[in-house]
């Protein structure tokens, strides 16, 4: 029957799309679980690191690290962490909107911006806008490794050491739950000191090997790296969660569309049959 041929092809093509979105949804759901585990796995390091930094604040090393000192801000460094792929709802758009708002504010205060990006979406967006990107890390995949982002961080830390930037921030999506991801701006340098309430027996200090400066330099670098890495892992979990939700709603929408089209198709088919019958009846009556 020739009736509703177009509608039928349309239904088939939407069904195919639905198959894809449903598959993506399931893939994202399983990946989300993995990325969430990874997020949990990185936590102990960050906690331990924060503890040591705190201990160091209580100890009294003769050397005060530059990352702990505030300077007047003329230029800030920003590391933006985005996903590598799209199809994850408004995740990246929301992040960039927050970033742009923050940038504008800095610009208004006469503060320059130095930019590094992690993830293809951020590179694409900001290079498209004509921003000057001093370093980027792309295509980190679902299991990012710390060594993938060392380069980007080093660029920023070097810039700080040379006095080119006076603050360093990282912008990423914070994973709140599966439905909610919060774009977050976090200040890395100067390191925000945690309140000093814990009691320690009088004055004490570590034995530093080889010496305080070298140990602290290394420790601080790793501290910054661990925060950025955690941001990256968290952003990854956000990406999968956002994709899962986006693909779920896409599948639902496809289902609804199919239902509607099916109804239209059935009506057309019915109408055609009715018409045929009435033609036959009319023909028989005429004979």
């Amino acid at each position: 029957m020739a009736v509703g041929k177009e509608i039928r092809t349309k239904i088939t093509s939407i069904k195919n799309t639905q198959k894809i979105t449903r598959a993506m949804e399931m893939v994202a759901a399983s990946k989300m679980r993995k990325t969430q585990n990874r997020m949990q796995a990185t936590r102990p390091y960050a906690v331990k690191m924060a503890q040591i930094i705190k201990h160091l604040a209580h100890a009294n090393p003769e050397y005060r690290h530059p990352y702990l000192q505030e300077r007047t801000t003329r230029r800030v460094g920003v590391i933006i962490i985005s996903s590598d792929r799209g199809l994850c709802g408004g995740l990246n758009a929301n992040l960039f909107r927050k970033t742009i708002t923050r940038f504008k504010q800095w610009e208004k205060d006469g503060i320059g911006i130095e930019l590094c990006t992690i993830g293809s979406k951020a590179s694409g967006f900001f290079s498209n806008l004509g921003a000057n990107i001093s370093g980027q890390a792309l295509k980190l995949g679902d299991t990012p490794h710390l060594q993938d982002i060392i380069g980007v961080i080093k660029i920023m830390l070097d810039a700080y050491a040379e006095g080119k930037i006076d603050e360093l921030h990282v912008i990423y999506n914070e994973f709140i739950n599966t439905m909610t991801q919060q774009p977050t701006v976090q200040q890395l340098i100067p390191v925000r000191q945690a309140e000093q309430i814990e009691e320690f027996p009088e004055h004490w200090d570590y034995i530093y090997e080889p010496d305080a400066k070298e140990v602290l330099d290394n420790l601080m670098t790793r501290y910054i790296e661990s925060i950025v890495y955690q941001g990256l892992v968290e952003n990854n979990a956000c990406e999968q969660a956002a994709r899962m939700v986006a693909m779920k709603s896409a599948s639902d929408n496809a289902g609804k569309l199919i239902d509607e089209l099916q109804l239209v198709y059935n009506k057309a088919r019915q109408a055609a049959i009715t018409q045929e019958i009435s033609e036959i009846v009319a023909g028989a009556a005429a004979v």
Partner: protein, 140 residues
């Protein structure tokens, strides 16, 4: 019962080991160190090598670290292990690579962010999402 010390070995990517031990051996920068309970507070860098955790006479764990930091408090030893071999020149190479990646993609950059365009683009993306949302709600 012999005295024990709590040991945590963590890397940026995962927790490696956590538990009590009689003694911990680590490849510090200035030579191998052995940490017994109530060791004086110490903080040192580690070389690539083996961290050995002696739980008791029979049990013994060994972990390879490619460098990192070791912190000792009287009752806690923390090893912050690196996941990759770190050296000044390797880090430098990584930085250069990140820089090069940024440069090859940005031939026509002006260094000025076009905020108007940014907002237009973002507004468009957000509106698309809102529209989809509204359509969905209406469909229900």
């Amino acid at each position: 019962m012999t005295m024990t010390i709590h040991v945590d070995i963590v890397s940026a990517e995962q927790e490696i080991y956590s538990g009590q031990a009689e003694m911990v051996f680590a490849p510090a920068l200035l030579g191998e160190v052995g940490i017994a309970p109530r060791h004086a507070p110490l903080i040192t860098m580690l070389m690539p090598g083996e961290v050995r955790v002696k739980v008791d006479e029979e049990e013994d764990h060994a972990f390879f670290v490619s460098g990192g930091m070791l912190e000792v408090q009287p009752h806690v030893v923390t090893v912050l292990a690196d996941t990759a071999i770190r050296a000044k020149d390797i880090d430098e190479a990584a930085a250069l690579e990140a820089k090069a990646k940024a440069e090859e993609e940005l031939a026509d950059r002006s260094g000025q962010i076009d905020y108007a365009r940014a907002q237009a683009q973002l507004a468009e993306a957000i509106m698309q999402l809102r529209t989809l949302d509204r359509l969905r709600k209406r469909g229900r």
